[in-house]
Amino acid sequence: MATVHIPALLRPLTGGASLVEAAGSTLRDVIADVVRQQPALAGRIADAHGILPEIMIAIGDTEAMHVDAPVPDGAEVWVLPALAGG
């Protein structure tokens, strides 16, 4: 199981929930489980091409660059808005 942190911007879609406990050994599986529990998040974190460009995901303190990234048991998964700057 992984603890998935939902960013403030997406919490309106989870009824305010900021954490979701999700099962899966890869990021793809974990996201699928998150969406299963919170269906309004479908397509808001990743789609068929991978992680959405406006989203960045960290597993622990390392950024996950693709959905096949492994998620160790007990990991913290951070779903965050991608921001850059000027």
């Binding site: 403030a8 911007l9 960290a58 950024e63 808005p81 991608a82 850059a84 700057g85 000027g86």
Partner: protein, 743 residues
């Protein structure tokens, strides 16, 4: 790699002359407006005089009949139902409504600029004028004029029942802020307001487009990102990316304001209709009224501490105006306002609101300066109430490795403590400030740096020198810093690397030049390419040395066999393996992602306030910033000084001065007066180097944090000089007099 001892570099840390320098000091460099194409027509955009109106009818007949007019376009030419056009298209050419004065409605291509202007005047537009929403808090109220009648607020509890100009309400909470405040001995609070300001780049936008009959589109433009520009062109024009080539010219400043594009698709559509190249150049009023200034803000904030000085709780209600179309500026603010400190209980309510002003864009560290204006003044106030030295108070509460960061994830090697220590130990901070009406202020600021995607290729010339082909437009000297990193990687001289910025057909994908990412991210791609080149050269070298490639090592610029019997330096070997053989080109590509840490900046400023005129003179300014590793110290200093002076202008004088109809009354450099040589002293710089563990040379992006502290540092200085805290920007003479009279 984390280094505790600073590595000894050969090229990194030196100050060579930039390769594009000679063209820039002789006037030969080609910027956007300098582009000439055979048969070129001149384009001009017709812009809305009204801040808020429904477009009833556009009649282009008279304009089309004018001799010399070759093409006219409106939103209809995007080839989709205008009501269904996405926000980006609607900003390029208005759909059924104009949402700010300056909003583009139509464009004309003609044989001369004068004819194009005359034709624009002949385009007849029938408007139904609507009341504008111009103040961020007022625009949030029920009953405010609605920009987008179907837009509802995204709230934590779901979409709002009624339509609203508030795009999103973002709630962030850590700990229990009510409990936190209850435990505090001292609470300070304030309400802070800042006005919309512009990045003020001296070069107005200019784009030239040629839509060839075979469907190939070429666009020459001064942009911060030629690949993102290509992407937007493709989406808006519904045209394949592979048939669009964006050629970046030199760029005369961006600071975030040239990330989005405004003219390119319009010029392309005109070219499609006219069958000739079309160049559109904005004039200064267009730049103010028709591009992307940065949000005005309203922040109510409260900070609580126990009497020993430990920050325990922080609350802020932040409202940011995003201009005419939805954005995330307030959301960004929630990610920086507490970034510098370890505060257990935090609650933030952030509101992103649309108003009848141009769609806002990034200005260096977007949202962070206004956030710091609030936070760092509360910290200053707190220090006064507790009778503590303000830098010591900051250090007492500073974020460290593992402190919860602003997005919830722990900080890694943040560098704020080192930056504060450097400030506290500086000659400026420890020098006395004497004289009446004088005050000293300090402030900190933070911005992220991202890595994103970069791709470069490196080719070997027959004389053993190398070319570095990259796609990151150079807005501050990155051609030099990237050449330096390649030279360091290969162990060769800086002069032996020839960098060039090329078009989107000629190099792999490069994300935008922004987010302080080029020296960092493209630097990683350069490092990668350098390693690939060494490997490729070893593979070619091996047979001539009668060894296998695994027997060859490359270090410190020298190839040698493991047993040391044969060796040669890079240049010698490059000449040998290229020589009469086939050419040698390799690439390096990285996706360095978003999570690349960030950097802290700090400012110490001394001011004198004239009690009769309210004028604030900056007596002395020291910018302190953590650069990780300063590749080219003079360019790092330049970024720090540039950000500082922009912040000085923002703090003391700059604002979009709107009248009640939503017209910016000061859309020229006369009345929107940015700092001149007379407004600022020399800007002292202290570069701190706590290496970034995520970069091969320890680099942190430096372009942005410098603009964050000056607003609060100057406000704090004015507060100490006059005894009155300034909670509104700009702190121009009128405001100073208003607030200090009789005190």
């Amino acid at each position: 790699m984390v280094t505790t001892d600073k590595p000894v570099y050969k090229v990194i840390g030196t100050r060579p002359i930039r390769p594009d320098g000679i063209d820039k000091v002789t006037g030969r460099a080609i910027y956007g407006a300098d582009i000439r194409q055979p048969g070129m027509l001149y384009g001009r955009v017709k812009r809305s005089p009204h801040a808020h109106a429904i477009i009833k009818r556009i009649n282009t007949e008279k304009a089309a009949a004018l001799k010399g007019v070759h093409a006219i376009v409106t939103a209809q030419d995007f080839g989709a139902d205008v009501a269904s056009l996405p926000d980006v298209s609607k900003n390029l050419l208005a759909g059924d409504k104009v949402l700010y004065r300056g909003h583009a409605i139509a464009a004309v291509a003609a044989t001369t600029d004068l004819i194009a202007r005359q034709a624009c005047d002949l385009i007849e537009v029938e408007y139904e004028i609507l009341e504008p929403a111009l103040d961020v808090r007022e625009a949030m109220l029920p009953g405010a004029p609605l920009l987008h009648p179907n837009q509802r607020t995204r709230t934590p509890a779901g979409p709002s029942e009624n339509p609203s100009n508030t795009v999103a309400q973002v709630a962030v909470a850590f700990g229990d802020v009510d409990k936190g405040f209850a435990e505090c001995d001292v609470i300070v609070e304030g309400e802070f307001k800042t006005r919309m300001v512009h990045q003020g780049y001296i070069e107005p936008q200019s784009a030239t487009a040629m839509w060839n009959p075979d469907g190939q589109i070429t666009v020459w433009t001064c942009t911060q990102g030629s690949f993102p520009a290509r992407q937007t062109l493709s989406q808006v024009l519904n045209h394949p990316v592979s048939k669009i080539k964006v050629v970046p010219t030199e760029i005369g400043g961006g600071f975030g304001g040239k990330i989005s594009i405004y003219l390119e698709p319009v010029a392309a559509l005109l070219s499609k209709k006219a069958f000739r190249p079309v160049k559109i150049t904005m004039d200064r009023a267009d730049v103010f009224e028709g591009t992307g200034p940065t949000p005005g803000t309203s922040i109510k904030a409260k900070l609580g501490a126990t009497k020993d000085g430990k920050f325990r709780a922080f609350y802020a209600d932040l409202a940011y105006e995003n201009g005419a179309f939805p954005g995330s500026a307030a959301n960004y603010a929630t990610m920086c306002i507490t970034a510098g400190y370890d505060i257990e209980h935090v609650k933030l309510d952030a509101y992103d609101v649309v108003v009848n002003k141009p769609r806002t864009q990034d200005y260096r560290a977007p949202s962070s300066p206004a956030a710091s204006f609030a936070m760092e003044q509360l910290i200053d106030e707190m220090a006064q109430k507790l009778g503590k030295d303000v830098e010591e108070l900051r250090l007492q509460n500073v974020c460290r490795e593992g402190t919860r960061g602003p997005m919830g994830m722990p900080h890694r090697a943040p560098g704020h403590e080192e930056t504060l220590q450097a400030a506290k130990a500086s000659a400026h901070y420890n020098s006395p400030l004497e004289g009446p009406n004088r005050g000293r202020g300090t402030a900190s600021g933070f911005w992220f740096n991202v890595g994103l995607r970069s791709s470069v290729s490196v080719s070997v010339f027959p004389d053993g020198t190398v070319s570095l082909i990259e796609g990151s437009t150079d807005i501050g000297g990155t051609r030099a810093s990237l050449a330096m990193q390649l030279a360091e990687t290969l162990g060769i001289a800086y002069e032996d690397v020839k960098p060039e910025v090329v078009d989107t057909d000629s190099v792999g994908y490069n994300d935008v030049t922004a987010g302080s990412r080029v020296t960092f991210g493209t630097g990683m791609a350069v490092h990668e390419a350098g390693k690939n080149l060494a490997k490729e050269m070893a593979a070619r070298l091996a047979p001539t040395w009668s060894v296998t490639p695994d027997d060859i090592e490359f270090a410190d610029g020298v190839f040698k066999t493991k047993d040391g019997s044969k060796s040669g330096n890079f240049k010698e070997i490059a000449q040998a393996v290229v020589g009469r053989g086939p050419g040698l080109t390799v690439s390096g590509s990285v996706n360095a992602g978003f999570l690349q840490g960030g950097g802290f900046a700090h400012a110490i400023v001394d001011v004198e306030v004239d009690p009769e005129t309210g004028k604030v003179t900056i007596l002395k300014y020291t910018a302190v910033q953590d650069a990780g590793t300063a590749i080219h110290p003079a360019y790092v200093e330049g970024q720090m000084q540039g950000g500082a002076v922009q912040g000085i202008g923002w703090a003391l004088n700059e604002e979009y001065y709107y009248d009640d109809s939503g017209r910016m009354a000061n859309s020229s450099y006369l009345d929107y007066r940015i700092p001149t040589t007379l407004d600022v002293p020399m800007i002292g710089t202290i570069i701190v180097e706590t290496p970034n563990p995520l970069h091969p040379f320890g680099v942190r992006g430096v372009g942005e944090p410098g603009i964050v502290p000056p607003l609060a540092a100057i406000a704090n200085a004015v507060s100490h000089a006059t005894g009155v805290r300034q909670t509104q920007l700009p702190m121009n003479p009128g405001r100073i007099l208003e607030t200090t009279r009789g005190k």
